[in-house]
Symmetry: C2
Subunit: 156 residues, 2 copies
């Protein structure tokens, strides 16, 4: 098993609620990149419910987001170096059919195209042998102002 | 202040992680419908972080999702009756600029168009006097198989 992409971000960029190794309250999504595809599995918590029996769409959107961004970053990382941090410019999710709550979800992601510095990633979420969700993430390199000079949280 | 849209769903359909009154672990997003717009406010928790100082995109997508669906449902509800439950057919989110973590977020949503039984809703998230996120939700009436005959969670 490869080291998860998210564990190869710089240590001060591992706080993400969706996939940060350092976020104990978060989802801790882990993407594995095999050189062609990003792969991940995830078991939603019982509270990740939409209506009884089915997974909450916002959770599925979160999985698409973090798995897509990690796949984009891994695809351009120089071998043996820290993986650069990308952020989400836009996110599109089609809920093809309801996703049952309980079984493990399987995620696949692959690069669709590169637009300048942006990378467009396709993501699929399947369970019980059916694709439930199709998503597209436009990932962009993290602006330097977000990473190098983190601002204190402003208050209104 | 009006009664939140989500508190007017049938009691067995109030479990949603994003906006269900009966989901104690959830986000409990509350949409208020004034006849023209859906309005909501939300203060992210400290763990809802992307990188230090900024809100996690998956949380913002979740806010767009639940607030959009609730606005769609409220817009077609007969006065004085329970609000019908809609689900998300598709979700699109553009992250226009980073969203600072700390201050209250303000959400607005309005109906863009109706496509057969589907309702297309536009959503904006603002804070510190700037629109941070624009979203579009295509909401569809909940299929009867999801609500009237909830299936036990299948195991793989």
């Amino acid at each position: 098993m490869t080291i998860p992409v998210q564990h190869q971000y710089a240590d001060d960029l591992r706080h993400c609620y969706g996939c940060g190794k350092n976020n104990q309250a978060g989802l801790q999504i882990k993407t594995h990149w095999d050189g062609r595809e990003g792969k991940a599995t995830f078991v939603p918590r019982p509270e990740h419910i939409a209506v009884p029996g089915y997974v909450y769409g916002g959770l599925l959107a979160s999985l698409v987001d973090c798995h897509g961004v990690a796949t984009a970053a891994a695809s351009v990382a120089p071998p043996g170096q820290a993986i650069p941090r990308f952020v989400t410019a836009s996110l599109h999710v089609d809920f093809l059919r309801p996703t049952p709550l309980g079984p493990e979800l399987e995620l696949r992601a692959w690069i669709k195209e590169q637009r300048g510095k942006k990378i467009v990633v396709q993501v699929e979420i399947s369970t019980l042998d059916q694709v439930r969700v199709q998503g597209e993430v436009v990932a962009a390199p993290m602006p330097k102002t977000m990473g190098e000079e983190p601002k204190p949280a402003p208050t209104k």
